[in-house]
Symmetry: C2
DNA sequence: CAGTTGTATCGACAACTGTCAATATGTAAG
DNA sequence: CTTACATATTGACAGTTGTCGATACAACTG
């Protein structure tokens, strides 16, 4: 189940008018940030040593079942917000900062 | 029905670790940006002449019923992303750029 | 090979969300 | 006060989402 990928689809939404298609793509991207578990996963990984984290540690830390954690990791990875690397039987994840930047830029340039 | 207000609740999520409470507040805020209609409303208002727009024009532009538009406007206003000003029988809305900035900053400093 | 462990998928369910028709409220004009 | 118009609220519904138990798949171990 591949979700929509977040590409650099739009300029700053609050500086340039946005079209219907752009709005749907951006909304799908922000929807990934609209869940507290996913935000915590992103924050935990971004602040982990070496900027990476093993999926095996997440269920205990965020207090959710393993299937639930796997589900959220898949959503984030499918959207390109996380990258996945298999090492032996462990899956390690990193935050794709560029993709996050796309969303940040959509909110304007401050 | 007052929704949760977006205050400056968190530092940059991807630079500092985030707690459960902060995650829920931020997620609720990003949820407002996870709907294409709300994104288009924000973009339309931000790019309108004088940075403001009358609610009366929105149903036709975004092709949604008047109750639906009113519902989205209320959500955005309750969260502080829009400000509402009554002029006669018309309601005018503006984008509260500072609140948008809170969300942008949560995604890091680029 | 069989056994163990980490991860992904499936199936089901409760809770939430966006939508509109109908209605209520508010504001101004006659 | 009555009428007309702009906006908000209510009620109901279909579709989506987060969750977990059960299960399947994958990778190492002995």
């Amino acid at each position: 189940m591949k979700s929509r990928i977040i590409e650099k689809c739009c300029g700053p939404v609050l500086v340039e008018p946005i079209g219907s298609t752009e709005a749907e793509e951006l909304a799908a991207a922000f929807k990934l940030l609209s869940d507290p578990i996913r935000l915590r996963i992103l924050s935990l990984i971004a602040n982990a040593p070496n900027g990476e984290m093993c999926a095996c540690d997440l269920p205990e830390v965020i207090v959710r079942s393993q299937p639930t954690v796997s589900h959220h990791l898949s959503l984030l990875a499918d959207a390109g917000l996380l990258t996945r690397e298999q090492r032996g039987k462990w899956a390690w994840f990193r935050v794709e900062q560029e993709r996050v930047g796309v969303l940040r830029d959509a909110l304007g340039t401050g």
